[in-house]
């Protein structure tokens, strides 16, 4: 059977599975729609959160980024896992005890202010939309490469599937589908990684193969990679090139941003007890860690493999006429380009003027099975895994968008008298509208999709995270402080990113940056701005009212949590 038929079968099977689960787990009440009825087992929730978190970018792009940047790529690995320690230790148990449905719920109640709630809703919706556009695009790319349909058709199919299970099932449907999607995506990621590890180092576990000697007797993998990279003018793979302060700030913004992302936080409202929410964060990181510790291993295997395939064993280049089929396959998509500069008919890849290749980072995971010559079913599996990653994240984000509209804006602000049934209908309508908007951006991607990722994390880091932390750990913090902090932190971060990414991209280099901090890392400074502003403003205004301080006291211990409450 050829790759395409196999891909149709495997992808078709996984889609049927997701829809089957959606029908079985459809939501009947707002509580089921928002927090899956609050009865999800902590390990299951861990798996679902991991799938929710690991997006098309994690699955498709991250190994490629690490592969091309070596040590500098560590910021993503550290940032996107370290944030869970903050979530588990400083946020999740308290928010679960507080026991509401959404992040704006907490901010609105804790700061006794609908203005604070509205600022939080705005942040949540903005963060989710920037994120979801990238996911839909990912669905389209996978479809067009592996099933050879138009990107537009791919996006529409993806929209239809998400529509079906997110609108029908709400959080309940999403949770159980995400468990299935986690299984699909981790299997799809690990199988090629294990194959390649065995082929190159003889080790079954990629994390161990990463530090092992190569089977062809050319020494340790990383030593070889350092040697190759230096020789080809890329600089040693295991040494960084970014400034320490910038690396520090980027890691900080990604960690804190992760801990402030509403679609992740809300998942911990679905478990029955405070105790469960703590352990659930642990399981989440275990499930994420399986993939995230494999990514750097895979990145280095793929790097060596690719350089050797293109430059040949003698490092003098391989004749283009004898190029392996994956090069010509991917050339069609425009992700690989060959420009025979010296006219010798041979391909050569390097980081200096000898270079004749243009290779897109994103192909490292998608083309890896082909580069390593793995069986056709593995290639089909990778397609299904990429789709699972994109769909699971889209669904989680859509849910936040729909809850923000139906619960935080309508029920809590504009139309407090609607019934549970009406609220549920509005939630479904909001989810449907959200999908259509996301699909539109997937088909007509704004040129800045990659740039807005920095945006999502920067905003979460500089707005929601400090407000939540102060809400828990500083009981006297008042609404004036919190709102001023959010607004100033957000404005500062947004202005910095907009200036360097959209208004004056030509100036986007270390010489012009504030203290040499890139737009990706500025969220860390925005967070500090938020904290400082909040403390100063709170100092000169009245402290939070006694009943709010009592409420903060009561979320600091587990007893009496009960289930997530409507009021």
């Amino acid at each position: 059977m050829d790759v395409q038929t196999l891909t149709y079968i495997i992808v078709g099977f996984t889609f049927a599975l997701y829809i089957g689960i959606a029908i079985w787990a459809r939501a009947g009440t707002t509580k089921e729609f928002y927090v899956a009825g609050g009865g999800v087992h902590p390990v299951m929730n861990g798996m679902a959160t991991a799938a929710d978190w690991m997006s098309a970018a994690s699955f498709i792009s991250l190994a490629g980024i690490v592969s091309f940047t070596g040590s500098d790529g560590s910021v993503y690995l550290l940032g996107w896992t370290g944030g869970y320690v903050l979530l588990a230790l400083c946020m999740v148990p308290y928010l679960r005890k507080f026991g509401k449905f959404t992040v704006p719920d907490f901010i609105g109640d804790r700061y006794y202010s609908n203005a604070a709630r509205t600022v939080a809703v705005f942040c949540a919706i903005f963060i989710c939309f920037t994120y979801i556009a990238g996911q839909m695009r990912g669905v389209g790319v996978v479809f067009s490469r592996f099933l050879e349909v138009e990107i537009e058709t791919g996006v529409v199919i993806g929209m239809a599937v998400v529509f079906f299970y997110a609108v029908l099932g709400g959080m309940k449907g999403i949770t159980y589908t995400q468990v299935a999607q986690y299984c699909v995506l981790i299997f799809a990621f690990m199988v090629p990684a294990i194959f390649i590890s065995v082929m190159m180092t003889g080790q079954v576990i990629p994390q161990i193969g990463f530090g092992s000697e190569l089977v062809d007797g050319s020494g340790y993998l990383l030593d070889k990679l350092d040697g190759l990279s230096t020789e080809l003018g890329f600089g040693a793979y295991t040494e960084g090139r970014k400034s320490t302060l910038d690396v520090f700030c980027i890691t900080g913004a990604l960690m804190v941003g992760t801990a402030g992302l509403p679609h992740v936080i809300v998942r911990f409202f679905t478990v029955p007890k405070v105790k469960d929410s703590r352990i659930s964060a642990g399981w989440t990181l275990v499930f994420i860690g399986i993939m995230y510790t494999t990514i750097p291993a895979l990145a280095s295997f793929a790097r060596v493999n690719m350089i050797e395939t293109i430059n040949g064993p003698e490092m003098t280049g391989t004749a283009y006429a004898e190029a392996p089929s994956w090069i010509t396959n991917w050339e069609k998509t425009g992700l690989i380009e060959f420009n025979d500069k010296n006219g010798d008919g041979k391909m050569f890849y390097s980081g200096d003027e000898r270079n004749e290749m243009k290779i897109d980072r994103d192909i490292m995971v998608l083309a890896n099975p082909e580069i390593a010559d793995l069986p056709a079913w593995v290639i089909a599996l990778v397609a299904a895994g990429g789709l699972a990653a994109a769909l699971s994240t889209s669904a989680g984000l859509l849910l936040v968008i729909s809850t923000s509209v139906s619960h935080d804006l309508l029920k809590k602000n504009w139309a407090p008298n609607i019934s549970d049934k009406q609220e549920l209908t509005y939630a479904r309508i909001a989810a449907a509208v959200g999908i259509v908007v996301a699909g539109y951006f997937g088909i007509n991607p704004p040129g800045f999709v990659a740039a807005v990722v920095a945006f999502a994390f920067g905003l979460a880091a500089s707005s929601l995270f400090p407000a939540i932390i102060m809400g828990i750990f500083h009981k006297k913090m008042n609404k004036e402080g919190a709102i001023a902090g959010m607004v100033l932190g957000l404005t500062f971060t947004a202005a910095y990113i907009i200036y360097f990414k959209f208004i004056n991209p030509g100036a986007n280099n270390a010489d012009n940056w504030f203290l040499g901090i890139s737009p990706e890392g500025i969220g860390t400074i925005g967070m500090i701005v938020n904290f400082v502003t909040a403390f100063v403003v709170a100092k000169v205004t009245d402290e939070a009212p006694q009943e709010v301080q009592d409420m903060v006291e009561s979320i600091r211990f587990p007893k009496g949590a009960g289930e997530a409450q409507d009021h």
């Binding site: 560590s74 550290l78 370290g82 230790l89 642990g282 510790t293 587990p558």
Partner: protein, 87 residues
């Protein structure tokens, strides 16, 4: 109030914070310390085929993160029992 007294509540919160800050200190050292600030110094040491700083940044820190959360869960569950505030 679920605690026997105000003092009990304050003591519980103090112990809670102590556990949290201790674990966060380790979190900071393995990620920002070993993986970023002192990576060059640690890279002079070889560890199981890796440069140590590089290993922390791309492997070790993540294993420590997972361990930290499970230690936290254990300590907090014990603390809840001690003060009789578990669910």
């Amino acid at each position: 109030m679920s605690f026997e007294s105000k003092e009990q509540a304050d003591k519980y919160w103090k112990e809670n914070l102590r556990i949290m800050f201790k674990l966060l200190a380790i979190w900071f050292v393995v990620s920002y310390g070993c993986g970023i600030l002192f990576i060059e110094q640690l890279n002079t040491i070889t560890f199981m085929g890796f440069k140590l700083g590089f290993w922390f940044a791309q492997q070790g820190a993540m294993y420590v993160f997972i361990a930290l959360i499970f230690v936290y869960v254990k300590k907090m569950n014990d603390l809840d029992k001690k003060y009789n505030v578990e669910e």
